[in-house]
């Protein structure tokens, strides 16, 4: 494709994203009750997590080398890539669970637009994600303020990029597991389990056994979504930081390969 063609395609997709996001937001106003319940659910979950952390720190003052405010920062920071990812890729859950099994996935194949884009566009700007982002920012801000965190200019510049990479990692993991449904019809349990593992990225990795740490760093790199960036911002540790872009790119490539192979293989069942 020529440079001009590529630019035109990019412009077209940007326009479509803009338009479809508007549609999503409009839809939000229609289903207020659902949104409120979703927000409530999310707040309940985060609230419970915060309670657990508070209760743990009632008993001790440091775990794994992190104190209360630092753990709070980690927890809040872990919500940022999750919120950003969820803003665009929530439809993947539907793919994992339903679309292949019911045969309705075909809808994304008959449009003159990239199927992955069409699939995700169904749930652009998913409202729950805003809650996650807002709560994450709130908690991170509070914790940073409480420990009087001073960031260097470099850290300030890198922070949003770190969040972005984290979001790409999460999106890739989600896409990878959701794509498994092209082979196994329903990969929701697998996706859910992978998500469960991610839930705990909000705690310091130092607590865990080496093999588990290895799993969370190199197999399902949740460590790079929260722990590595947070330890950089809080302690200035740069040990694993250079690996971050590498892991992000590799995982994204893997996820897209799985997606393409899966779509290629897709056969619409049912009459």
């Amino acid at each position: 494709m020529s440079a001009r063609g590529a630019a035109a395609t990019a412009a077209r997709y940007t326009r479509l994203t803009w338009y479809l996001s508007g549609v999503s937001l409009h839809r939000l106003t229609e289903y207020r009750m659902d949104f409120l319940i979703g927000a409530g659910g999310f707040l309940a979950r985060v609230g419970c997590q915060l309670l657990v952390v508070a209760m743990v720190f009632q008993q001790v003052s440091v775990i794994g080398g992190w104190d209360y405010r630092q753990v709070l920062f980690l927890l809040g920071f872990s919500l940022l890539p999750r919120g950003l990812d969820r803003l665009f890729t929530d439809q993947m859950w539907i793919l994992a669970r339903r679309l292949v099994q019911s045969g309705d996935f075909y809808r994304y194949l008959i449009r003159p637009v990239n199927p992955l884009f069409t699939l995700l566009s169904e749930r652009f700007l998913y409202p729950d994600a805003f809650g996650e982002l807002a709560t994450g920012i709130g908690i991170t801000w509070y914790a940073a303020d409480a420990m009087r965190l001073r960031l260097t200019p470099l850290q300030l510049v890198l922070a949003p990029l770190l969040v972005l990479c984290g979001a790409v990692i999460l999106a890739s993991i989600k896409t990878l597991f959701a794509s498994l449904s092209f082979w196994t019809t329903n990969s929701f349990p697998a996706l859910y389990a992978a998500g469960q593992l991610g839930d705990f990225a909000g705690y310091p990795l130092d607590l865990y056994q080496p093999s588990l740490r290895w799993l969370l760093t190199w197999v399902l790199p949740y460590a790079f979504t929260a722990y590595v960036p947070a330890s950089y911002l809080v302690f200035g540790r740069t040990g694993l930081l250079p690996w971050l872009p590498v892991v992000t790119a590799a995982l994204a490539a893997l996820a897209l390969t799985a997606w393409h192979r899966g779509v290629d293989r897709y056969e619409m069942t049912g009459s």
Partner: protein
């Protein structure tokens, strides 16, 4: 109703249990995945709390020592498996699709059929997933060994807990009449109930007011009661009986509540047609 008719009546419900087993066999991968989830959940909890209980000897906060807290956390997750019986999902699904109207035509009690379908799921979950996880951890870490009496009390208590959990799930499922976003309600239920049951943090470790509230609610019967009975976290036989009695009372109350909720649901279906 004589015993014979009663028994014959119960036989009408066995197909639901069998059907549930068949469905589970078809989706075998779910078990592997559940095992992964359970193992990770346990690992993370265990590591978190073992970091708190750093001293190896003597008892720490809440009267637990290291082995005790490890055992507690491990078994709390296994109990969580016992309570995860998909009833909330299935019931809300049927309501959304309108299939529940059909269930009213059948000559069986819907809540009872759901219970019969849910029990195999719970038991298989515990056996196939919980079993290996417990064995894995028993091999790796020192656990507190319970006494025979403790095990007996635990079994009785777990049965009651299973019933309460089923009823909570059924109530959540019935919320499908009120909203389409059952997912959100389930998340609230999962976190809040787990917290108040003592699955995430032992109730004895909670700050005063929260612990007090938790002890007043039925959810404590889900995890806290069975584990306290197992690990001997009580003083004297009277206290043990008290714990069981409290559970039984809540089981009765929840059953009543569920029956009422179901009655209202039926009325609503009759009026609106599903």
């Amino acid at each position: 109703m004589s015993a014979a008719t009663g028994l014959a009546g119960l036989r009408r419900y066995t197909p639901f249990a069998v059907g549930s087993l068949q469905t589970m066999l078809r989706y075998r991968s779910t078990f592997v995945v559940n095992a992964v989830t359970a193992t990770t959940a346990v690992s993370l909890q265990v590591f978190l709390w073992r970091a708190v209980y750093n001293g190896d000897s003597g008892s720490g906060p809440g009267g637990f020592d290291r082995a005790g807290i490890t055992t507690y956390v491990l078994l709390a997750q296994v109990l969580g498996l016992l309570h995860a019986n998909r009833v909330d999902e299935e019931v809300s699904g049927e309501i959304q699709r309108g299939d529940i109207a059909v269930s009213l035509i059948r000559p069986v009690s819907y809540p009872l059929t759901r219970f019969c379908a849910g029990v195999p799921v719970s038991l298989v979950n515990v056996a196939l997933v919980g079993g290996p996880v417990v064995l894995l951890y028993a091999g790796l870490l020192p656990l507190q060994r319970p006494g025979v009496g403790g095990v007996l009390l635990f079994t009785a208590s777990s049965l009651l807990a299973m019933v309460i959990a089923f009823e909570v799930n059924l109530l959540v499922g019935l919320a499908g009449f009120a909203t389409t976003n059952i997912w959100g309600i389930r998340i609230v239920k999962d976190c809040v109930v787990a917290l108040l049951a003592g699955q995430v943090v032992p109730i004895s470790l909670m700050p005063g007011p929260l612990a007090g509230a938790a002890r007043l609610l039925p959810f404590a019967g889900l995890v806290d009661s069975p584990l306290r009975l197992l690990l001997g976290e009580y003083r004297g036989a009277g206290a043990a009986a008290g714990i069981l009695a409290g559970q039984a009372a809540w089981t009765g109350a929840m059953t009543l509540l569920t029956a009422l909720a179901w009655r209202r649901a039926v009325r609503r279906v009759e009026v609106l047609g599903g």
